[in-house]
């Protein structure tokens, strides 16, 4: 926590990110190479789904990161509104499109997977739909933060939205129990059960860590860009 506070200052953040980014990108690249090997070559094809099962190694981590990303937006929103951390706004601006991107990847891989598995690109299943709603929440956040002439106001409006929107996340999750009438196919339940085979579990977790690092890396880089852009705008207007 003390560390986070330390980072609240853009200049200090800049120094921190410049120190971290090179090693982080190296680590991510390495992890990705190994992960791709594990996921694409080393793990066996599923006896029922064949090679399409490999979609899961991207699909599931993306879903997790998309949800974590929105929680991050809410946290950043709170720290902007309560403690007025200037960096929080810039980081939220940087993180929203990244989260939306992972959300889109989850939707796309899911619907590509759905075609062979369910015979349709899309069904109105509760889980799928809740993911789609999360995507809309992201879109709303992005649109709102860019809708003002004065970027600071967009930041604050979007922060308010993120704080209210995060209440929606658990509700959407619980609604699965209430609303779902079309159940996930048996293959998913079998895979998702406790007896998941290590040959699948290991690459899955590996890819989850890899994509998490990628997420962090992208947010750091984009935050750097946002800092530059904000400085440039201020300088332009002062001139």
């Amino acid at each position: 926590m003390a560390d986070l506070h330390f980072l609240a200052n853009p200049a200090r953040f800049r120094r921190f990110s410049q120190r971290v980014v090179p090693s982080l990108s190296g680590a991510t690249a390495l992890m990705l190479a190994v992960g791709l090997y594990l996921a694409l070559l080393q793990s066996p094809p599923d006896y029922q789904q064949g090679d399409t099962v490999r979609i899961m190694f991207v699909h599931v981590p993306s879903a997790w990161l998309a949800m974590a990303g929105y929680a991050l937006l809410a946290g950043l929103g709170a720290s902007l509104l309560i403690w007025r951390h200037p960096l929080a706004a810039l980081m939220a601006r940087a993180a929203a499109p990244v989260g939306a991107g992972f959300c889109a990847v989850c939707l796309l891989t899911g619907s590509l997977w759905g075609r062979p598995m369910w015979g349709a690109y899309w069904v109105w299943d509760a889980r799928l739909t809740s993911m789609l709603l999360l995507f809309f929440l992201y879109l709303g956040h992005i649109a709102l933060s860019r809708a003002y002439d004065e970027p600071e106001r967009g930041d604050r409006a979007a922060a308010i939205l993120a704080l209210i929107g995060v209440i929606n996340l658990p509700i959407i999750k619980f609604s699965v129990d209430w609303w779902n009438t079309l159940h996930q196919p048996a293959s998913v339940v079998r895979l998702g059960g406790p007896s998941i085979h290590p040959s699948i579990l290991v690459p899955l977790l590996w890819m989850a860590v890899t994509l998490f690092l990628l997420f962090v890396l992208l947010v750091l880089l984009r935050t750097d860009t946002e800092i530059d852009r904000r400085r440039l705008e201020n300088a332009e207007q002062q001139a």
Binding site: F136, L144, W178
Partner: protein, 221 residues
């Protein structure tokens, strides 16, 4: 508190001066709902099956359609400044505005819905449930819509941005509202759905006024 009542009274009086605005919202509700029997054909079982969902969706749109000017009118003629300058909490003012909106849309919608339900062939017990869910659910729609209206106030966008912000947030209410009615029709657990609906309304009541007030303050800058 007297300021709260005064604000509700003022907004109701403004609506009273233009009764057509409420009429348009209600007409929209009716037209949007009757479109479905027209488009889908008169198969009674299909209609009864989708009735709750269609009525709830139409109610949601009707509520949103009338929301986008909730604060914008005050913003443009300068009365928002007077609200911001009133010596009592802006949160109460936000609540008062949403309350007035609910009285002129949510309430009539809940009253009108059973009539339309008859046209869809719903049974009388279900009609009652429909009305009850709308009564409990529409305040949430007014509050969330009010938040979206406040957030988009100084923004460069039109009513559509408001809808984009509000609709995903309204989805839980929609699911549990329509779900409750359907649960009753198909012998499911109406009470549980209804309880969630009420809980959603309470959560909205407890959180949105603060968020709206914050959004209005920064629109005034």
């Amino acid at each position: 508190m007297s300021g709260f009542a005064a604000l509700v009274a003022r907004d109701l009086r403004l609506v009273w001066r233009r009764p057509g605005d409420v009429a348009v919202v209600l007409a929209f509700f009716v037209v949007a709902t009757t479109l479905f029997p027209l488009g889908i054909g008169p198969e009674a079982n299909v209609l009864a099956r989708i009735a709750a969902g269609v009525l709830w969706c139409a109610a949601l749109f009707a509520a949103l359609l009338s929301l986008d000017r909730l604060f914008a009118a005050d913003f443009e003629d300068g009365t928002l400044d007077l609200l911001l300058l009133a010596p009592w909490p802006l949160e109460l003012a936000a609540l008062a505005k949403c309350c007035a909106h609910w009285i002129v849309t949510g309430l009539p919608l809940a009253a009108l819905a059973p009539l339309l339900g008859v046209a869809f062939g719903l049974e009388s017990s279900v009609l009652l449930a429909l009305s009850a869910t709308l009564l409990v659910g529409t305040p949430t729609l007014s509050l969330i819509g009010g938040l979206a209206a406040a957030l988009t106030l100084g923004a460069r966008k039109s009513g559509a941005l408001l809808a984009l912000l509000a609709l995903p947030l309204c989805v839980p209410t929609l699911i549990f509202g329509a779900g409750a009615v359907e649960a009753l029709a198909s012998g499911g657990d109406f009470g549980a759905h209804f309880a969630v609906l009420a809980a959603l309304a309470l959560v909205a009541l407890a959180t949105t006024p603060w968020a709206i007030a914050a959004a209005l303050r920064q629109a005034g800058e």
